[in-house]
Symmetry: D2
């Protein structure tokens, strides 16, 4: 790539500590399929960080895999999962959940976050055996459009789910970004106490690959390794993911990386606010959605990679700008300067811009 | 049931000619699994009526079964089906389609009918391998809320599907009602020529049970009996359904039954119009959705069975009134008189009415 | 068919009492989807006959449907079902069980009947999460090759299953034939007490269509109607099957029909024994498997329909002869005379015979 | 682990060149989901090595994942896959194939290798729509019990499959071991020309993780990325596997590693032959199955890790000894000396040994 990319948070490899740890342990003989000493150590550290020594923790290679295994392990054939219309499982996983046999009941939300009212509306519409039976609530934190849940919001959902005998599952592909957001008011332990299952994303916060599925609810623990194996998720060299989570959590590297990504995003959004542009959703984490003039976007696209999310009108569009643990501050500064500069340039003709949201 | 039911079109058994035909052929020895002489004869007559001697025709026991087998036989694992939000497959089949692994892409419609623009909007939103690939369009005629497609509307959809390489499937659970509606302008042959696959509903138009799946598109014919068997739809005594379709189509009984049901519904809707009440959707076939005062509904519910579909405001609600081939005219007359009478009664207190839509 | 068929037990329609009952109740308005008064009455009678007033009973249209719904309702995604290699689910259901996601662990048996040792051998081979977890035992009575379980045999299996926390399911497509066999020593109540779930076959013992699923184990009852609906098995006019089981069980017609079928089979097998021919398996019910000279089979096949099951050597083959509730004694007598006569005829050339087992 | 392990070929991490390559390219920005420059380069090199520039190549994280995606992408719902009884998909993948809806038709083989006669026997038993339709043949090279296919054997199978319109798929988890076996007579290009699809195993031959699926048959290429995504196999950082295959194939490292593993196994088997012990199957690759006295196995198990595969009699059992690219020659020598020494020791009592085959 000749342009510098703000397209996503997985353009680079892994943080160097992870590669060092891989090198250092490389020739140790370890047991296979996640029963190695490195995974065991990683599990213990995560149990400690979430404040639940009884949590079951399993490492898998990616987020879609985590979602499809967790959801299909919980639901009976006729049960469904409630999710926002923008949920990754509803849009960007090629029907992975339906492929395991389950319907997703989607609800249109303002900002990618589900509310108790949203969930109740689905329950109201499903009353007998001619319809699926909603049994699981799916939320993401941060969401697919960058927003994050407050402690109060999550508590309300968790209480409601308990009352209605619904399980609550959180997709934490970007949990490291959510919990280090300037707007976050929740600790990992507090969050973990509120959900039945969640996963902690590695891929999008400094690992080569890997997500850690955390099962707090005892009802959902049994035989989980059978599900992992059946869906092709039990890696012979499970150590490869274990060592990465060990490295990320041993010295709180995970949070440092999240903070950096968020700081870079804030720098950009502050500059954009300074230029009096608006946003599709309030900037909260490492994904921001500024509404910029097409002429600015066209000029930016010659130097930088990013997605155009949505057309607003003939003159302007929403861009998706994503920063990561690896984003270089010097290039962020340059990017900001360029936005300013390009905003002042007068382009001769009206510009169309291609939508390429992912 | 002590009240007379306008709840649905499957409260009675079968038209007497069907029972006579069952009796008459009962002790003939016939081959099993749909290869009997009665099914073969029924197939020939249907092929003639639809004007396609090459159509493949298979009999199954119900509509959900027909839908799940047809759809899962057509789609590859990652392909999806486009349907109105009110489609039977999207709401009232307990996730039967998802249970075969496929996502339904739903579109909100005004009257239960899909348009070319609706389909295009789904195509626009599905652009790469991170999303399912829409490949099939599902429509019902008449729809789940009583509306019917005109020849022009269906032709537009069919042409669009051909252009976009989408298959077109019609759920004809109430095809007999749609094509004998006073508002219909299409023959069975014309309709059949426009769709790749459809089914002709028996259960809701005079049969004990049974639907006839008609496959016009050669691409979709191969090995269909394997799908039927795998899904538990190949009846050992397939003759039971064959003889019913033979009886329904031999002397156009099927259309007579549809006409009667529609006539009964028209009588009721004309009376309701005469009383200056409105409808949720324009009454077109044997399912009508009048908006009536709660006080009228409450009184009616003591003598008649019907569903309350939806609350409109504190004073009135939508009722679903369904007639059938077996609806007795004398009771329709009484029902009409009662609506008039109950409209004039003054109930002392404001009444709440229970929503029980199916 | 110009020849008289001993091919199967579903060549004719239904016993005349069933058709009469259908006629008599035809125009009564009844609730849909199995909640009608006829089904309710049938359920009560069956609960009484099996001696379990708490049993849940559901009517479905066929055996493959019953099997796939029961099995998929019981098993978690990684669990499997143990069955004889000759089991209908393993051979003749087009992968219906696998289509719901589950492996069948098959065991080679001598006579189509499973033993405790067979089940143990499967358990021994499945030890961890790299393998499926066997959780359900599938048996048929009578089996697919005509044999039946004794009370002692079934008790041993049931005890073993309880000890090993396996569920026990019996396919009773031909239960009416098994329990009226001269070799049977078990009552319906005794049998029902030993299994968690079973189904009572209607299609192959005098009904037009229909099987009654009986769930004794409380753990397996919940939400079963959701499974029925999702798999397309909930008939709008469920009354059609309800009235048939009501008729079959009200006056023990079910057992009379079974007795007739078995008596006809015994007559044939006694005659064959008298001619010094052997059998593939000991004749026990309405399916018998005599080993006859090809020259006899060739001559018989000109007057009678039956399946050739298996070649034994160049001179002889196994035939499958099936009788039913509708088999006419006069034609059985003629068939016996023909076997005798054809055994004496000298055919000039060695004959090949086509295997067409089903 | 305190003992030196001959349990499997995935006890260590990756060859050091792979880690170096990861380090070197770590901070390059690359496109996600397998569209990075490293994967592209790896694909080109593999296309060259197999002699098919039109092959489609996709990287996934493990063997079960490769198998379940390839097989489910090829088969229609009612189609099945033919495999040896010992096939990984039939035994050690927790029903992963059945979970995608497909039956495996297994055949008992002598040495884990399928023959044309085996395949024909399955075809003979599947004749109509009451049974699944076999459409794909699954073989492994080397097999799960260490044997390998000769060019003549594979050619016969390939020719037969073409004639019978069956697809041929090879599980190459240990392809690097098969093709560098002293008994192999086939080049990678020759092998690739004979199969429709195969995968080249990385995990068991020097990679951290990763398998390369190679699709030669044009019919099977379309939309494969949709299958990958739906099954959770499309890694955001696909580069992680791409760089590994690039490193393994750029300088034929893949073959060097295979040769080393085989040489270590040969050394051990030669020594065992010298001691006049027998083998369960002829030693051909890096998995060998010697039959050793229990007293020897017991002593060995104190110093070395390995699986006891099967009891032979009261005195002796089969061990599974596996070497790998990382096996140290000095420890192989020690292991050999120990076998010799322990064979001479007289243990006082008869010893039982635990079977722990995987």
């Amino acid at each position: 790539m000749t342009t510098y990319s703000f397209k996503n948070d997985y353009s680079e490899g892994a943080h160097e500590s992870i590669l060092s740890a891989l090198l250092k342990t490389n020739l140790n003989q370890e047991d296979g399929y996640g029963k190695d000493s490195l995974s065991n150590e990683a599990i213990k550290i995560i149990q400690q960080k979430i404040g639940n020594k009884n949590a079951d923790i399993h490492f898998v290679s990616g987020g879609t895999q985590a979602n499809l295994i967790v959801i299909s392990s919980i639901l009976k054939p006729f049960e469904s999962v409630i999710a926002p219309l923008t949920a990754h499982i509803a849009v960007h996983e090629t029907g992975a959940i339906e492929a395991t046999g389950h319907k997703i009941n989607t609800v249109n939300t303002k900002d990618g976050k589900l509310t108790v009212e949203d969930i109740q509306s689905v329950l109201d519409a499903h009353t007998d055996e001619h319809m699926v039976k909603p049994k699981l609530v799916f939320i993401s934190n941060s969401t697919e459009i960058g927003s994050i849940y407050t402690k109060k919001e999550l508590t309300k959902i968790a209480d409601f789910c308990k009352k209605k005998k619904l399980f609550l599952y959180m997709d934490g592909a970007r949990l490291g970004l959510a919990l280090t957001s300037a707007k976050n008011d929740m600790s990992l332990t507090e969050l973990s106490n509120l959900v039945d299952v969640f996963y902690i994303g590695g891929t999008k916060n400094g690992a080569l690959l890997g997500e850690a599925i955390v099962i707090n609810n005892n009802e959902l623990k049994e035989n989980f390794r059978f599900h992992l194996k059946q869906k092709g998720a039990l890696l012979a060299k499970g150590r490869v993911i274990g060592i990465q989570f060990l490295t990320l959590f041993k010295n709180d590297l995970y949070w440092e990386l999240g903070k950096h990504a968020n700081a870079m995003a804030s720098k950009i959004s502050d500059a954009i606010i300074g230029l009096n542009y608006n946003f599709l959703t309030d900037p909260s984490s490492n994904q921001i959605f500024p509404i910029l003039p097409n002429k600015v976007l066209v000029q930016l696209s010659e130097k930088y990679g990013f997605y155009v999310w949505k057309k607003i009108d003939d003159q302007s569009s929403v861009a998706r700008i994503v920063t990561s643990w690896a984003t270089k501050e010097v290039l962020v500064n340059e990017f900001i300067e360029d936005i300013k500069k390009f905003s002042e340039n007068d382009l001769n003709k009206n510009v169309e811009i291609l939508i390429n949201n992912k």
